[in-house]
Amino acid sequence: MRHKRRQRLHWPDYLILAVIIAFAAAIWFRISGALNYNWQWHRIPNYILRWDEDEGRWFTNLLLQGLITTIRIAVYSGILALVLGTILGIARTANNLAIRMLARTYLEVLRNIPPVVVVFIFFFFLSEQLIAALQMERWARGIARQENIAVWEFFFGDMRRFPSLISGVIVLALFESAFVGEIIRAGIQSIPRGQREAARSIGMTRLDEMRFIVLPQAMRKVLPPLSNQFISLVKDSSIISLISVQELTYKTLELVASTRMIFEAWITTALMYFVLCYGLSLLFRRLELNKGR
């Protein structure tokens, strides 16, 4: 029988709430009294959307620019991490020992190094070199000078910042791919052996067996953990502010540095992350309910 949860508050609950409120109030007084902090909440909306008198229209300002960049990075590195993670997951279940060992090494290295260190290593050893080798800098500047770049700007924002965006995407995707890979491996291994045997017995190649029989079923099973991982990715994206990718955390740092609105800026940013991530988790929950007919 299912345990029925209490719906009503009783006196101990009120006591706990009172203690928490008192504690919050104490902190509040310390900030406003002892620190003599000058709250300037009214200035925050301007840093989200700015009205330009000369041009007579709205412009996105620091915080919203950062949020949009964060969303772009999350989407692109999410897709890239899924692709890399799928390859990694398949490699982890491969028959070939060398392939399995490579995949395992990659995974263990990533899992046992702090994310910040991983980000720096990937940035300096991988994406910087890659971007230099592909001469992406010149290419992006070339596009930035062209006339009709609305499509480019929609997908990548300011094209002069394109190399930085891409290195952020690559770094984040490489980091998350290890976790995605583990999720996919678990999914692949959860598919009964009989499925693979049936696929093989009608003469399918290993590739087709993976593509048409194992992966479609595995993906369906791992959708919930994958969507959780995507939410983690959105939150982890704040780490790449360290390599000067102009996403939400970086923009907030800029804002704080120039305006000294420490509390307002960070609380606003926290709220933006919260709304984004909580919204995603509600969305995914809804999708799952629909799926489980």
Binding site: P192, E197, A198, S201, I202, G203, T205, F212, Q217
Partner: protein, 277 residues
């Protein structure tokens, strides 16, 4: 003497139609033809455990072989070696002129000629019945989709569930699922069909609908190797009974002799055990 004349017919009453067709079918097995399946001195190990020992076994075109024996005697392992779901460690296995080895092309070629039906059906749960049937022809035989669907519907008709084409396997009963699995194998138009305890996972009332389909298939001249405990079915369709114990083939006899007067003591004991209730 536990086996009096007619005891089997009392236990497993046969329809006359089937007996008649069975007699007709006999002539299709050409005695002089080279075997389509041949196993020579095959051995198979699972670690230190020897699952198959010195297996010599051959099947001619159109022949129907039923393999029986106590559980753990290596029946499933033997049949799974025939399409290399298990790799044999010693000896040679030749299917339709192709020797099974490490060559993946050869293995795939053999698998296209050899259909297999599993105890647990192993239908693809994410595909509809029709897609389960067409995926082999489309992906392996590179047939185009409309042609594959026509083919699939023909075989769904043959296993008598044409109306279930657009359902998912989980929406079907066990018996229907197993018939879909048979149709899926047939869609590859194999020359040999392997059955690995096809009715063991079924509720009793669904066994006959699957056996009926298998009898029909046998009557059509398909070469069949079946691992089954359904002795009524074996009696109806088998040309040869193979009895295994502890990884060895103990005897290979025509069913008439096997059921009335088995050569080995162990086979007699086995028959006593499975037929006594």
């Amino acid at each position: 003497m536990p086996f009096g004349e007619g005891w089997l017919f009392a236990a497993f009453p046969l329809e006359p139609r089937v007996t008649l067709q069975h007699e007709v079918r006999k002539d299709m097995v050409s005695p002089g033809a080279p075997p389509i399946i041949s196993m020579r001195n095959v051995a198979k190990f699972f670690g230190p455990f020897q699952a198959l020992t010195d297996i010599n076994f051959s099947v001619r075109q159109g022949e129907r072989v039923v393999i029986c024996g106590p559980s753990g005697s290596g029946k499933s392992t033997l049949i799974r070696c025939l399409n290399r779901l298990e790799e044999h460690d010693e000896g040679t296995i030749t299917i339709d002129g192709i020797e099974l080895g490490d060559d993946t092309k050869d293995i795939r070629a053999v698998r296209q000629e050899v259909g297999m039906v599993f105890q647990q059906f192993n239908l693809f749960p994410h595909l509809t019945v029709l897609e389960n049937l067409t995926i082999g022809p489309i992906r392996v035989r590179k047939m185009d989709k409309p042609a594959a669907e026509v083919l699939a519907r023909t075989y769904l008709d043959r296993v008598r569930i044409p109306e279930q084409a657009d359902k998912y396997p989980s929406q079907l009963s066990g018996g229907q699922q197993q018939r879909v699995a048979i149709a899926r194998s047939l869609c590859m138009e194999p020359r040999i069909m392997l059955f690995d305890e096809p009715t063991s996972a079924l509720d009793p009332e669904m066994i006959s609908e699957v056996l009926d389909v298998m009898v029909e298939l046998a009557d059509s001249g398909m070469t069949m190797v079946c691992v089954t405990h359904e002795m009524g079915f074996a009696r109806r369709v088998a040309d040869t009974m193979v009895f295994m114990e502890a990884g060895r083939i103990v005897e290979t006899t025509p069913p008439a002799q096997f059921f009335t007067n088995p050569k080995s003591k162990r086979a007699r004991l086995f028959l006593d055990q499975i037929l006594e209730h």
